[in-house]
Symmetry: C2
Subunit: 432 residues, 2 copies
Amino acid sequence: MRRIIKPEKSSWTAICQRPVLKQDKLLTLVRQVFEDIKSEGDKALLDYIEKFDKVSLSDIRVSGKELENAELKLSGNLKNAIKLAKNNIEIFHCSQMDEKLPVETTEGVVCWQEIRPIQKVGLYVPGGTAPLFSTVLMLAVPAQIAGCEDIVLCTPPDKNGEIHPAILYAAKLCGVKKIFKVGGIQAIASMTYGTETISSVYKLFGPGNQYVTAAKQYAQTLGTAIDMPAGPSELLVLADISAKPSYIASDLLSQAEHGEDSQVVFITDTLDLIIEVERELEKQVQMLPREEIARRALKNSKLILMSDKQEMIEFINLYAPEHFILVVSNEEYFLQNIQNAGSVFIGNYTPESAGDYASGTNHTLPTGGFARVYSGLNMDAFTKKITFQKISPEGILKIGKSIELMAEEEGLIGHRNAVSIRLNDLLKKSSK
Amino acid sequence: MRRIIKPEKSSWTAICQRPVLKQDKLLTLVRQVFEDIKSEGDKALLDYIEKFDKVSLSDIRVSGKELENAELKLSGNLKNAIKLAKNNIEIFHCSQMDEKLPVETTEGVVCWQEIRPIQKVGLYVPGGTAPLFSTVLMLAVPAQIAGCEDIVLCTPPDKNGEIHPAILYAAKLCGVKKIFKVGGIQAIASMTYGTETISSVYKLFGPGNQYVTAAKQYAQTLGTAIDMPAGPSELLVLADISAKPSYIASDLLSQAEHGEDSQVVFITDTLDLIIEVERELEKQVQMLPREEIARRALKNSKLILMSDKQEMIEFINLYAPEHFILVVSNEEYFLQNIQNAGSVFIGNYTPESAGDYASGTNHTLPTGGFARVYSGLNMDAFTKKITFQKISPEGILKIGKSIELMAEEEGLIGHRNAVSIRLNDLLKKSSK
């Protein structure tokens, strides 16, 4: 990791820069796959699975039998762990679902919002080396709580045409019934257009590699909504001497092992702490099976010494970290002033891993500085809000004149007339 | 309007189709303007204003003097109308801002969400024939309530280089200080990249013509968020004999006058009502200054007779109208079952105009069927939510084992270690 000692403010924007992903080159491929799946449906889909995943499937649907078998392949302990995680995620996401009471903005003018599920959602769960069954929980639990009617889950098959049993188990636990052995661009294209087997959806969720990311962006231009722009994972740790250096190092490494483009940043006002964290990093990185990946990620990463708390929070808000671990004695100051972050982990006993799996918060979070403008996945992402209004005769008498004046000034006489015709009737009635 | 009598379900998707907007052609122009403003800033901006708006400006900033003068040019009645509208919009949007209380998902594991404003927002207010000062209220009131630090408002100048006083008055009333005489693609490009005069923003809001819409979509591909995909305005009215045909016609016309690509749909289970509405439409359309536009919009529009309430609600949910006026004796059935709509107007005395100006709800709503997946503008759009979690030693002891198991199964040993190192310390302590 690169040490940066008291950087000038003029250099902050450069320090905050993440590696830029270039996806323009992928667009030609993405368009081709989308076009083929649009015109040929399942046939094109099976061809692409054979081409990209090197496996020939006769049926992309995960069968009931496969779901049952998956359950048998997992240890009772792991199943209980998944259940605990699901339970916590469920409790936290349920707590977000309060309806708002009606408001009377003017006497006789009642307005309110109601939450409705997005009826058709598509969940993408990456395959590859790591079977991300935790992502199944993070996507399917809120979809289920929201009441989405049609939940489609796509995940790539391995070379034997199979899906990791923990992914199937988690999906079953969350009540997902439409599970397909399809990954990559072809999965996103299928959920966008629909095929004979896979139904089209209104919104796409979930992480993925650069192909999946490019495909989701393309789907968005076609009118299918997506959860958020994706990018490599990142962690910023802010600590003072109340923190344990070995814990800090373990957290930084848990992020660094994700991929060589992961970014980890450590900020403190104590030089000694930087030295101790560096020592711990070296000690712990050697124990990781993914040591090489972690070391490469650490090369892009920074240990930054700063002067005071004002400077630190200002920098963090500019950086807008996906994950923000905060271990300082004066927590309150930072909690009050943090403006831009995906998820915040407070104190010595709140590792990022907890939020990745089982504390209850969602692990699908905005990266690359997008925490300045996007939330992580929450119930809002799986629902939309409809506004309602009901106006009584008294209400329209109270606000009608104002509407007439404003509509007239905007030159929209039809808008004015819709009010005038009602006011005239009411005034006639009341003068009788 | 076209009468459609009891259409077969197989034809519904076609009936729900909106006119398709082609924006591909605009992309070359949009790219060019973005490139120029990125590299030359204000200089390019002034050139484009001269080119597109036919006006030569020395300063694009609206001065304090101009703001004061705007106020003097408006009647007291109009100013009061704008204040009433602002007040109602404020009350309704404030009511959306409840914080959620912390939840203990497992003993010792506390999670919560906090709302934070998006710090920099850009508001676009169209100019042209109609000075949409109501749009200023709909964008600036929630931005102000959210606490957005940097609110930039762009709106095109007229041929004399001026802005309609009601737009300036509404902006001042909402506390907007950075107002610029810039419209079209060049406004969106300036707020995306920033120039010497206009600061860049994180998210762009507001309606606009096809150029603005294409520019916002392009800005999104560059990483600047936008409020929602835009399209022509639309209204669906569902009524039974409890409704007044003259009111229905006035509402349909208030939507039809927006533009010739506006769409209005009337649904009922009573043929007589269709006949009466047709008669009223013909009578009222003649009184409109925008009669020609309204007549052209009506040509694309439909009066649909349906068999029963189940069929009607199913069709409406498929159509997903931006505005939905509901005037029936059995309101409850439709309120409970409506899934997809931007905003719902209930009863004989709730014209769409009320929501357009002054009831309190937001008039920036999803069109073109996007109500299936997007909300209209509300406080969520001007804020994001950060999740927080704080775990006690007891808490991590309770969930730590599950995290270790799941991380291990996913092959992420660094994630496991971050928990193990803490558990080991705690278990050592407790065994002493």
